[in-house]
Amino acid sequence: MNNYDLEKTANLFPCLSRGEEKMIYFDNAATTQKPTVVIDSIADFYTNGYSNIHRSAHNLGFRATQRYENSRGVIRQFISARESDEIIFTSGATESINLVANSFGKNIVNKNDIILVSEIEHHSNMLPWQQLAKEKGAKVKNIPLNKDLTIDVESMKKVLNDSVKLVVVHHLSNVTGIMQDIKEIVGVFQELGIPVFVDGAQAPAHIRVDVKDLNCDFYCFSGHKAFGPTGTGVLFVKEEFVKKMSPYKMGGQMVSRASLISPEWADPPLKFEAGTPNISGIIGLSAAIQFIEDVGMEKITIYEKRLTEYMLEELSQIPELIIYGGQKKAAPIFSFNVDGVHHSDISTLLSENNILVRSGHLCNQGLMNYLNIDGCVRVSLAFYNKLDEIDQFIVVLKKILSFLNK
């Protein structure tokens, strides 16, 4: 195990320091950069032991299977799941959500039932549930929110009734970095036997995720937002529910009894991993998770708190700037607008100055509607970002604003 110096971790991400032009990468909520250990682990797998998995009778295949299945153990431990069988590998958060909507949602949601969804979800955590509701003649109902964009648990209790079959909520907002109190929310529904699905896409790069403690029934995230490869995703499903789920994709690797007239599915998680999975990606993801643990999740969270506070202080010096979601951020994700200036002009000129951010609806039209805006600028940091990058960003932002206001 390595023990990294947090202040120097940026050096371990080659893309951050490539070439001459210095770039400030503040688009981490879209995707995170990859440390060398992740890039190397993929290359190592293809170079030193590549094979397909599960059904091979040879050692190469056996060892590849071990690496793949060990990754399941690494992820299990990372999010404190009880059993490795509760960890399903997917191609990303989006596929994880679609999988649950299809394999579980379809079995438990019927006509006139209600799916409770916060209205400020990412499109990937909104459209699949709307589609499910449409197919089943069910309804998607909003979960009431507090002013600070957290879920209003007391009001929520009041909208509860027998028709509610599933609750869907994000853990950490991709727009504001605000965290929902999943534990409290689960507490309400647990008693009623209503399962809670948590979209944790933004969480594992910033905070310790403990699904046992959160006590949610489903939790998902994408590898690429947690320093891992693209094309990888994780879906945690509590054991009691994983057994109630129908298969999602059909194909090789997921049949145990190869009668095609009445096929018998393999046990979970393989039942949900039809076809050849993204083996190299999953191996790379486990290297990423190992890397996070080596840096230290707790150190990351503390350091990011400093980044967050500093950025908020600096942004509050710009009077025309409206920042969304208030002060209580669990991650350094900041979305804002500047009075009289279009968000796309700001992001274009920041990019011109090699500061990479994002603007627009951020795939969260629900939150845009809620805030009554058509878009905003999002600046999102990771633990490899530095205080002096914030300084430079603020200088450039002020210059841009005065340029645009001329």
Binding site: H342, H343, S344, S347, T348, S351, S359, D374
Partner: protein
């Protein structure tokens, strides 16, 4: 079209810093007549841009004319540039000509000519309109 393209490229060639280039682009946008509010409607809105872009095409005596607007300053400048390039050309000219003005004014890389500023979508729309005019004839 080719002539106008050359003119634009030459205008930009005298500018070096991003401030100067964007200032010119933005002022081009400001010089373009605003689209009447009655035309800033759903139907004229381009899909898939980050800022709003409205575009109206008119076909008159064998030539195509474009009127457009945007709610963002820089996008408005790009819109103005596109209108300068294409407005007044014949459908055949538009279909035949592949312009690479943007790569020549030193903003290609910077403008991220993708969905964000809607450049591709605008040019696609203009081309589709040109094809339609030809087919209708």
């Amino acid at each position: 079209m080719e002539g106008e393209a050359k003119k634009i490229i030459s205008e930009f060639s005298f500018l070096s810093s991003w401030e100067e280039k964007y200032e010119h682009l933005i002022s081009m946008g400001q010089e373009m007549p605003q689209l009447d509010n009655s035309l800033k409607i759903e139907k004229n809105l381009l899909r898939g841009c980050q800022s709003k872009v409205w575009i109206v095409c008119k076909y008159n005596a064998g030539k195509l004319y474009f009127y457009a607007d945007s709610d963002a300053l820089i996008t408005r400048g790009i819109v103005a540039l596109v209108v300068r390039l294409y407005s007044g050309a014949t459908p055949q000219e538009i279909i035949n000509t592949k312009l690479n003005v943007f790569s020549k004014i030193g903003l290609q890389d910077h403008l991220s000519m993708n969905r964000v500023n809607g450049l591709n979508i605008m040019i696609q729309k203009i081309n589709r309109h040109a094809v339609k005019c030809l087919n209708d004839e």
